[in-house]
């Protein structure tokens, strides 16, 4: 089991390194003088010089890369050009807002999706099942940011049930501000998860060990919840882990629509101002998040499914 974890993280680290290096090189490959682009018309010679020294822009590329990685390993993501604050500070300050939004979205959509999927599997081919199937397909189709905009329009602007802007204060305040955004992000997942669970459940319920459980008089309720669902959920874990990239993309837009602080807004703002260190930092962290979530999903999978632990 331990070797398994190590292997997964090693692979994740490799992907991360390749991604970061590519990003780094891409930025450096931009035509034109990066310094002037970043500092714009405000660039005084002193500012330029300090920036060049700070970002080691006068060194050959490979050396720059090495320096960057060196800093990275020490937890230093560079310094913000304009404010002087550490990029790591800025990014990690915004991160929790994004994480809470994504977590809530996954939580509600997975719970509802699993419940619907299990129900549909228990009552297959009824009208409800077929309607749910069509609905699932349609819901998956609507892109999150369009849903977000429409939700904003209907529920925040017109009906005024929920706030339109910001992240809120305090537990209930923040929760209130999270309702519409997590609704928008989670909506397309509910249908997807429900279909996945339905198919998975139908497959599991037909397997021999379920027959054994019935033959020993175990109640149908217990069979569905503890024996079948436990296996049927496994694909959902993987799907969510792998879907983190997609979730992050949805998060970016949703944060803009609802004017929420977070990683997405940070990236957009810093791109507009050509604030490369922050762009790098934010993209790095979000890629890292994605890599971590895939590895985490694998881990959860191994915990839930003992068979996965022995697999090399």
């Amino acid at each position: 089991m331990f070797i398994y974890i190590v292997k997964r993280f090693a692979l994740a680290a490799l992907v991360l390194i390749v991604a970061v290096t590519a990003m780094f090189l891409m930025i450096r490959a931009v035509p034109g003088d990066p310094v002037s682009i970043m500092l714009g018309p405000r660039a005084t010679p002193e500012l330029k010089a300090s920036l060049i020294a700070q970002m080691a822009l006068d060194q050959p590329i490979w050396k720059q890369l090495l320096i960057y990685y060196g800093d990275l390993l020490q937890g230093d993501l560079g310094v913000d050009v304009f404010s002087g604050r550490s990029v790591a500070d800025i990014v990690f300050q915004q991160l929790p807002y994004t994480i809470e939004m994504i977590s809530l979205s996954v939580l509600w959509s997975a719970t509802l999706g699993i419940a619907l999927g299990a129900y549909a599997a228990a009552h297959p081919n009824t009208i409800i099942d077929r309607v749910a199937a069509a609905l699932s397909v349609s819901l998956v189709a609507a892109p999150a940011f369009v849903v977000a905009l429409l939700a904003l329009l209907i529920f925040a602007v017109k009906l005024q049930w929920f706030p339109a802007i910001g992240a809120g204060e305090g537990f209930w305040g923040r929760l209130n501000h999270l309702v519409l955004p997590s609704f928008a992000i989670g909506l397309s997942w509910v249908g997807y998860i429900a279909r996945l669970v339905r198919a998975s459940m139908l497959e599991v319920m037909g397997e021999n060990h379920i027959r054994t459980a019935r033959a020993f008089g175990i109640s149908e309720r217990r069979i569905v919840m503890s024996y079948a669902l436990r296996i049927a959920i496994l694909p959902v874990v993987t799907v969510i882990g792998v879907g983190m990239g997609f979730l992050l993309s949805s998060a970016v837009f949703t944060e803009i629509v609802f004017a929420r602080p977070g990683l997405g807004k940070l990236v957009i703002d810093s791109i507009t101002t050509r604030n490369y260190p922050i762009v790098m930092g934010a993209v790095l962290v979000s890629t890292g998040l994605f890599v971590v979530s895939t590895a985490l999903a694998d881990l959860i999978n191994a915990i839930l499914d003992p068979r996965a632990r022995s697999a090399d």
Binding site: E207, N208, H209, I210, R211, T212, A213, R214, A215, F216, G217, I218, S219, R222, S226, Y227, R230, I231, L304, D305, P306, R307, S310
Partner: protein, 326 residues
């Protein structure tokens, strides 16, 4: 009368399909007494699966019980309320399935599963675990307490089947149904499992309904045997009697073709020519007619299952002398 545990009485079961009704069981009758070991012999499609699922009442949605009763300790299982039926499953009636590799839930530990099936007993969880451990020891699994924490994929096929036996016998059932328990195992394992089963049967005194197509095992283990073909009982009775003096052509052919029985070396193993009939389109008359070398005109009528002597029933016109025609 109270000696009889299970009575199958004129049971007929169909499956409704798009092609028509599949007549899986037709007028099946036999019984099992307390502590008795009854074997069921027959090739694929003879109706054994339908029989088992009917006894346990775990049938497919398109199953139709056309006639007959399945009486267990006097009560008809086919009309019993589901709640009562569920009470019997895994406590009075237990089952061992054919494929040990698929029979256990892969994500729950063996201990958890063995504790779950004790859901009717009102003892503490640790008590249930120790009962489970004792049972594992009884079937020959070493270091049972530790192994309770393990998962099915950590056991070999033979051990999984032992675990299945342990699970089935844990509640000390009155009737154990063994559905080809050794078919998926190799010969050496088979011997071990059968021996273990015999020991346990002597200890627990349960009746066993043992389904197999391995005649040697049937002869070794069973007191009586029921021979089934394409949904009908063609012969039944005392096991020594049947094997020594079979009264139905199908039984005779089965014995002849059994690899264990063949005395001389031969290039080509004998088989029964022809195919099992289509259960949706049954021919008239005796079910074995199309594959029987000794078929006559009389066979155009279904022969009744007649008692030929004490403990020996057969359904074949050859056992009935020709009536002299006037």
């Amino acid at each position: 009368m109270s000696d009889t545990l299970l009575e199958i009485d004129n049971l007929s079961v169909d499956y409704e399909t798009a092609r028509g009704d599949l007549k899986a069981l037709r007028d099946i009758s036999f019984d099992v007494k307390k502590g008795e070991i009854v074997g069921i012999v027959g090739e694929s499609g003879c109706g054994k699966s339908t029989l088992i699922s009917s006894i346990l009442r775990l049938t497919a949605p398109n199953t139709r019980f056309r006639q007959g009763e399945v009486r267990f300790k006097g009560d008809d299982l086919l009309t019993m309320p589901e709640r009562q039926m569920r009470n019997l499953r895994g406590s009075d009636i237990s089952i061992i399935f054919q494929d040990p590799m698929q029979t256990h839930n892969p994500v729950l530990s063996i201990g958890r599963q063995m504790v779950d099936i004790q859901h009717r007993t009102k003892v503490s969880k640790s008590e249930k675990r120790s009962i489970a451990a004792k049972m594992l020891a009884a079937v020959g699994i070493p270091d049972p307490e530790a192994r309770l924490k393990q998962y099915p994929h950590e056991f070999s096929g033979g051990m999984r089947q032992r675990i299945a036996i342990a699970m089935a016998l844990m509640s000390e059932p009155d009737l154990l149904i063994a559905d080809e328990p050794t078919t998926a195992l190799d010969a050496t394992l088979e011997v071990q499992i059968i021996e273990r089963l015999q020991e346990l049967q002597r200890e627990f005194h349960c009746a066993i309904l043992f389904i197999s197509h391995h005649l040697g095992v049937i002869a070794e283990l069973c007191d009586r045997v029921v021979v089934m073909y394409a949904g009908a009982v063609v012969e039944s009775g005392d096991v020594r009697e049947i094997f020594h003096d079979p009264k139905h052509p199908y039984t005779r052919r089965l014995i002849e073709c059994d690899p264990g029985h063949i005395k001389e070396r031969a290039r080509v193993l004998p088989t029964i020519p022809g195919e099992v009939p289509d259960l949706a389109n049954l021919p008239d008359g005796c079910i074995f007619r199309d594959r029987c070398e000794q078929a006559t005109d009389r066979c155009a009528q279904v022969p009744p299952l007649e008692k030929l002597k004490e403990g020996h029933f057969a359904a074949c016109w050859l056992n009935h002398p020709e009536e002299s025609s006037t």
